[in-house]
Symmetry: C2
Subunit: 541 residues, 2 copies
């Protein structure tokens, strides 16, 4: 019996061990499966930015708020009202009242270019391209819509205290919402409600005599008979973002039974800075701080003169050269990076290429027919970028005649409605810069400038512009670059005063290529103003 | 006498005419001078973003508001409180509780890399570079400071109604401030004050029985015995930005004698969109929509195979090739743009170059050893970018063994204080995408992806990374790119299963160059994590 029992026990133990083993393996596999499910299985709809229930409540509230007092009369102040943006912009040149001889030289006239007309009149399918542009713009608006831009009004005499700006959470992280409070006097029980769309609420600490419902949910209710206890509890309310998006905002509704307030929690990563390690910050080591960049075509002789002139003052600075010659020649020397492009790829493609290769904090743009002199003090340009919020500073280019140009312009965009916006370009600048008396703030400058490499790379040079282009870069830079211009950093321009019979073959070839604007080239510019920039009109001197 | 007189008269008339002429010319020159003074002569201090008087008032108010109720006790909820960001981040790997064999395969362990230690221990001047980084970061913070990010609280029971979000003016333009109001009951005279720093106030219309002082100034006072009239007047208050900056905000103080409220008017250009004209939007014309981009080095045979495989499915698509071989060979064929770089410039420099040349709406990144098959449906990638807010979508790469990788990762940054931030990289994704069941949202994907050209160009590829690099692009993209990954668009990887004795000379040369990580290469990576990205720690699988 004992032998039988012990035999049975051994079997049972063996089976038991097998079962335990199987159980362990299943548990392992189960945990494996759970651990390896590397995301929530939740879905997110990113086909367009939805305006949810809270957004609709907000819109309704604004409508109510601004529709009062309509019966009280007013007298329009024309000089102010005329400066307000209209629903559309008018494509109109200045009225020219002076008709004196040479008035156009003394008072540069403003011209209006109707971009819509110029582009559509020569297009085979004007209504098609118009429709296509509207579609692309619609998609662009959907992608760039951010609830943090929507109009919100703070209601007067509301017992609610809340943050109206400055609340930010990193995606999928948790923060305490600062500044929530309730300041009402009446009532035996005090209740507030919190509602969100892209995250949930909780509390980082609990306070006695306060009831909190909906912890971990998108809707939370806090109430207490003691107002002070409720306010203390409100100091610990947390928000956790649960619907991932790298850059959006959650509109939060904070309400009592009677009053409603809305505020925004921005959901975004912190900015990871792009810092350049440039060695000893006490002296300006131009070779460590700056890369010189240029584009060359059919002018190797001028390019060589440029390089020789640079080396007199900056023997070790890296020079990046973008070259789209049909038969490229070697350009050699220490600290020279020479890039060969397909033939005739063009001006802006070359600029974008050259700038894409820069690893230093700053990039100095030079044309291949510039000449450095003792007045070309790049240190001065570095100084102003180191000490101010400017992202780019232009210098001055001196012609053989002695005439020196800074080519300063201001640019503004007037909203235009469905037909597109109106772009206004004028000669001039905005302000002189405190501490830098030869320098001003502008929106566009001459083609000799120092820029923060990361910012210039972010704007970029539109590689479609092959033969000509200058202001296009500054139009693309609007809103991104803080631009300045200093008249005391001067580079020379190799003489353009060439008598026709002294022109070299390469001069003639260059002129032929550069200055014969093909209609294809013009078409590209027109198309980009109309479609890419969505402009209706451009006015300029 | 008459002859004399008439003679004198003639002289006088001549002189008079000369005087008149001179007067006219002087007037002309004077007007010329005034018209030609192309900017205000005012100065602007852009040496750092000043926090003015209003900002200080605001800070004081917040201090007062959040310091109440300190005497009421609370009980911390650890599970919530532990998710709140601390002042610093700790560089710690996961605690490995499972010690089973192969546990590392089943449960990928998280490793912590102390970036500060790794970089500073081998640096000749650790305290110098630490100080330099802090300085660069300080400048960066000054340049990026925007009053629109500052915390503002709405006071409870304030009679003031005002906009808390969404008010924007283009630089130097004028807008009506929406939503201003006063809702108090008491008092025989109702008065409100408006104060700004970067602009002035005015009214677009006047209302009877309301007195308005300080029109055209930075400080305006409106008062009336009739509350309704004052509120009607407040509907016409305008703000004009007068201190130019391309992207800033003015904090406005709106107050009564007793109450103060603060709100922000953003001063910025409207976004000029970058729209691509891609022809008929009904069908996906891949040649019009997409440019394929790649970088090649020592693998012309594989590159040729790639191109041949592409041409089977996309005969007309443009292929941009960045080539940094020591002895470049010609790569010819229709729709091929071949760029020659200085020898060994490297991986990310090549990627940045290739992408800088793209003129189509989308860019498809491919490695030079990929092979297209019938499963490589670029149309599917275009479809998801056309229909969602994604900026970049990765596909899947199939090895010769059949193993297919999507390399999905999530990335988050934890704020770290002075030592730098902590970067956390994990395998996995955030959510499945509604409507696209094989696609997910992530932060990093495999090196086969379609991206919006303008967004990819804005992020860029750090040209310092020569031999290796992948996640660095996605780290730089954090917050800029909405990233997805679809497992059903598959490209093949040319086989890496090569028996040692069958390796060609070019295989051997490539392996030698690519896989012998020089310490210089490692140093660059360490330096960029420490300095450029200002990181303290990185944790990853």
């Amino acid at each position: 019996m004992s032998q039988c029992t012990s035999g049975m026990n051994r079997n049972m133990r063996a089976t038991f061990k097998k079962c335990l083993g199987l159980l362990l393996i299943s548990a392992l596999l189960l945990s494996l499966f759970c651990a390896w499910s590397p995301g929530t299985s939740s879905r997110v709809d990113i086909r367009s930015r939805q305006r949810g229930r809270i957004q609709k409540l907000l819109q309704g509230k604004i409508q109510d708020t601004i529709s009062v007092y309509q019966d009280i009369g007013y007298h329009i102040k024309d000089d102010v009202a005329s400066h307000l943006a209209q629903n559309t912009c008018v494509c109109r040149a200045d009225e020219n009242t002076f008709q004196l001889p040479f008035s156009n030289l003394l008072f540069p006239r403003v011209w209006a270019h109707d971009i819509v007309l110029a582009f559509l009149e020569s297009h085979p399918d004007p209504s098609g391209v118009k429709h296509h542009r509207a579609q692309e713009y619609g998609s662009f608006q959907k992608r760039s819509y951010n609830p943090a831009d929507v109009l919100i009004l703070a209601e007067a005499m509301s017992p609610l205290q809340y943050p109206t700006q400055g609340v930010k959470v990193r995606p999928l992280k948790t923060i305490i919402i600062p500044g929530l409070g309730l300041k009402e006097e009446t009532g035996s029980n005090h209740t507030v409600y919190l509602t969100a769309s892209l995250g949930t609420f909780d509390v980082a600490a609990t306070v006695d005599r306060v009831s909190v419902e909906g912890v971990g949910e998108k809707h939370m209710i806090l109430s207490s008979p003691l107002l002070s206890a409720l306010n203390r509890q409100l100091q610990f309310v947390t928000y956790t973002n649960t619907v991932f998006h790298p850059k959006t905002a959650d509109t939060v509704l904070f309400a009592t039974d009677v009053h409603r307030s809305f505020f925004t929690i921005k959901v975004e990563h912190g900015i990871i800075p792009k810092l350049y390690n440039t060695g000893n910050p006490k002296e300006y080591n131009i070779s460590a701080l700056v890369t010189f960049a240029t584009k060359t075509f059919l002018r190797y002789d001028k390019l060589k003169d440029l390089i020789d002139s640079i080396r007199q003052y900056y023997p070790n600075v890296t020079i990046v050269i973008a070259d789209d010659n049909e038969h490229p020649q070697a350009v050699t020397g220490p600290h020279i990076d020479h890039y060969i492009m397909p033939f005739g790829k063009g001006w802006f493609a070359g600029r974008n290429l050259a700038v894409s290769q820069v690893t230093t904090k700053y990039v100095l743009w030079v044309d291949d027919d510039f000449l450095f002199t003792a007045n070309t003090k790049v240190e001065r340009m570095v100084d102003i970028l180191e000490k101010t919020t400017l992202d780019l500073v232009g210098g001055a280019v001196r012609e053989a005649t002695g005439y020196t140009a800074t080519y300063r312009h201001t640019i503004s965009v007037e909203e235009g409605g469905e037909e597109g916006d109106c772009l206004h370009i004028r000669n001039g600048y905005h302000h002189v810069i405190e501490g830098f008396p030869n320098c001003v703030v502008a929106d566009a400058v001459i083609n000799f400038f120092l820029g923060r490499t990361d910012k210039v790379q972010q704007v970029g040079f539109n590689p479609r512009l092959a033969r000509r282009g200058h202001l296009e870069f500054f139009i693309d830079a609007l809103g991104s670059l803080h631009v300045g211009s200093c008249s005391d950093v001067i580079v020379n321009h190799a003489s353009k005063i060439i008598l026709p019979w002294t022109k070299t073959d390469s001069d003639k070839a260059y002129d032929k290529f550069r200055y014969s604007s093909s209609s294809a080239e013009n078409d590209i510019h027109k198309e980009d103003f109309y479609f890419k920039d969505r402009l209706k009109c451009m006015t300029s001197h």
